[in-house]
């Protein structure tokens, strides 16, 4: 069963203008400034006078810029845009003992990823994200959310040479994620999002993901908000099972599919808070505020306003940066307008689309 979704009140800004509070957030990744890509290339060039120390400074600068860009857009909780990460599995596999890299493998066409192999028991060495959290937390004036690739995805998007089954590997990794979350909490983190896109490709494994989550949240205090992000799946195959997950919030993309699947969740029994994707991460046009407001109302079919979080469908890193910013800014604006309409009684929460524009 879900944990303690009421911990969302801890993220309400002191000067929040309305009684209603739709927590605004992002999934995590954000387009990198072009100069950071050039800096990354330079750091790989042996002939260039640009080393790892310089790259760290460039990463720090980029994290500062994107965290502030999120704040400027008005988000209630911010992320550093994952400026230090190139790919969601590679980043963590490089930090966990037991993985090795053998070279790129094909995803489609000429899109490759350095799919790692688990060749030995996975083990925790140095913290993965504590430094980056502390840095972002120090530069941010809003609460910081920390996205972590989940153990099921870290297991399934790797070659498993060492464990008898991917299930066993997933559980071993879940224990490491638990260790990392504990360290993040010690460092002050209050909002952690577990990313499990692999669940969408193999929804029949929902019980394995549930067991992983049990391990991840073990001994994590209830005032720490735990989200789960899944994307691009057939949700009838994992709902209502996710109601039993020990999470505070379920974050899902539905804008991309024009909310065709919203009814799947609208049975009146949705247990965690819903973090609903209200802007599309794969269209390069900024949705107008009025359209995003209608998307937010879709979420009210599933949960009441006090359980609704709004976010983009997925990470925005593939978009041009000005489009990503425009989407984020309009999303926050739309949320604030919906909150005011809720306060004014202009939205019937039992029939939220009735008053749609």
């Amino acid at each position: 069963m879900s944990r303690n979704p009421g911990n969302r009140e801890g993220f309400r800004p002191d000067d929040h203008p309305t009684e209603a509070f739709l927590l605004t957030t992002v999934v995590g990744s954000y387009p990198k400034p072009r100069w950071l890509n050039r800096a990354t290339d330079l750091a790989e060039d042996d002939d260039a006078d640009f080393d790892a120390v310089d790259l760290t400074e460039a990463h720090d600068d980029a994290c500062r810029v994107i965290t502030h860009e999120h704040e400027r857009a008005g988000l209630d909780t911010v992320v550093d845009g994952e400026m230090r990460r190139e790919e969601m599995v590679e980043f963590f596999a490089g930090r966990i003992d037991g993985y090795e890299f053998n070279g790129p493998v094909k995803v489609w066409g000429h899109n490759y990823f350095d799919k790692p192999s688990v060749v030995d028991e996975v083990a925790y060495d140095e913290p993965w994200l504590v430094d980056e959290f502390e840095f972002t937390d120090a530069v941010a004036s809003r609460p910081v959310k920390v996205p972590i690739t989940g153990p099921y995805t870290l297991a399934n998007w790797a070659f498993n040479e060492a464990y008898d089954s991917d299930e066993e590997l997933s559980y071993a990794l879940a224990d490491l994620v638990n260790e990392e979350v504990e360290k993040l909490v010690e460092a002050g983190a209050r909002y952690v999002q577990i990313d499990e896109p692999a669940l969408a490709t193999t929804p029949d494994d929902h019980a394995i993901v549930g067991e992983c989550l049990d391990r991840i949240v073990s001994d994590i205090p209830e005032d720490v908000r735990i989200g789960l992000h899944v994307c691009y799946g057939d949700y009838s195959r994992i709902y209502p099972e996710i109601n039993d997950y020990p999470i505070d919030e379920f974050d899902v993309e539905l804008c991309n599919g024009d909310y065709e699947q919203i009814e799947t969740f609208a049975d009146g029994a949705f247990a965690p808070d819903l973090a609903l994707g209200v802007v599309d991460a794969h269209t390069a046009e900024v949705e107008p505020v009025s359209e995003i407001k209608a998307n937010i109302r879709q979420g009210l079919k599933v949960v009441p306003p006090e359980k609704l979080t709004v976010s983009p469908d997925c990470g925005l890193k593939l978009l041009p940066r000005e489009i990503a910013y425009g989407k984020t800014e309009n999303m926050v604006q739309a949320a604030r307008e919906v909150e005011a309409e809720l306060d004014a009684g202009e939205i019937d929460v039992d029939d939220p689309l009735a008053t749609a524009d």
Binding site: G103, P104, V105, H110, N111, T201
Partner: protein, 337 residues
């Protein structure tokens, strides 16, 4: 005593230099993939990749050499995605993998293309006396991966795909073996009526060549009826996945319905970097023999279970050596199959 032949199901990973050179030349988007009329510098890069793929097989000592299918951006859907009467739609998932291909939407008659034959002609130039093995999707699989917007009838479409593949084979250079890859036959098995038509379609394609034909399947074991119908097709061997598919179900099928005089064994994991020992391969050949006591096989083809394009190149090459050495050990131990 059986002849043990080391081979592969084709569809190799590109050498790493070719991955970066071709992505720079072609781009990363849907519209950038192979169309059948590539620029000269792209053709040149593929030529060098082909040469390397042929060399790595000869170096490893495989008993059959494939062209490697470096150009098959869309995996088994390739023969259709480069066809002039096929439009490519969105990117769709390739079975249960984190891989995607362009949906081939057939909008006109599946006339002769010749695309694969040209690749094979180039491969022949690189061979000495090595026996060439050709690789195609089976007709059921190819139809299953495509969207028909022209024939309008499932049976007619399958027959058209079979006729198309048979026409392509007519233009192939001489080859020792033809592998027809039919994963859909087991992952999305045909129901009543469709199972017989699938077998007829395979029969028609197999009849287009004088070479030995292996219908290779993977990821799942056969259901009984499609298997029983396939036994009526004029092919020399049926190939089984003994890594991922349910082995008990596979042996049950073979022992219940028999199998062809030759057999294909997918023994090396095409989707895991763990490199098997050659001794393990030889032991597994013998183990299959133990599990199929009633049969004797003229030829046993030993290969990966799946296409190996899922692997990084270093492990892929090690597995080619494993296959060649494993088959040699099985031969020298005189496995009686």
């Amino acid at each position: 005593m059986t002849d043990v032949v080391a081979t592969t199901p084709g569809l190799f990973p590109l050498p790493d230099w070719a991955k970066s050179e071709l992505s720079d030349l072609k781009g990363h988007q849907k519209g950038d993939l192979v169309s059948g009329d590539e620029l000269p510098e792209v053709t040149d890069a593929y030529g060098r990749a082909r040469e390397e793929m042929v060399d790595e097989q000869r170096g490893a000592g495989l008993d059959r050499v494939v062209e490697g299918q470096a150009r098959w951006d869309d995996m088994l859907a390739h023969p259709l995605t480069v066809h002039e009467n096929v439009e490519t739609g969105g990117i769709v998932r390739y079975y249960d993998n984190n891989n995607f291909y362009r949906d081939p939407r057939v909008v006109g008659e599946l006339t002769f293309s010749g695309d694969v034959g040209v690749e094979l002609d180039h491969a022949v130039e690189l061979l000495d006396d090595d026996p060439l093995q050709t690789v195609l999707p089976g007709p059921y699989t190819l139809a299953n991966l495509a969207t028909d917007e022209y024939y309008g009838d499932e049976a007619e479409f399958l027959a058209a795909v079979a006729e198309f593949l048979a026409g392509e084979i007519d233009a192939f250079p001489a080859h020792e073996t033809l592998y027809l890859l039919e994963p859909s036959l087991v992952t999305n098995p045909p129901g009543d009526g469709r199972d017989e038509r699938a077998s007829d379609a395979i029969d028609e394609v197999a009849a287009a060549t004088d070479a030995d034909v292996v219908v290779h399947t993977y990821w799942e074991a056969f259901e009984e009826k499609p298997y029983a119908h396939l036994m009526d097709a004029g092919v020399d061997a049926i190939g089984f996945d003994l890594v991922t598919a349910d082995r008990e179900a596979t042996f049950e099928c073979i022992n219940e319905y028999g199998t062809k005089d030759d057999i294909g064994l997918g023994l090396v994991d095409g989707q895991n970097t763990r490199v098997e020992e050659p001794e393990t391969v030889a032991e597994r050949v013998e183990w299959v023999h133990d599990r199929v006591p009633a049969a004797e096989f003229d030829t046993t083809y030993v290969s990966h279970n799946t296409e190996p394009f899922y692997l990084p190149v270093n492990r892929h090459r090690e597995k080619l050596a494993t296959l060649a050495e494993g088959a040699r050990l099985a031969r020298s131990e005189g496995v009686e199959l």
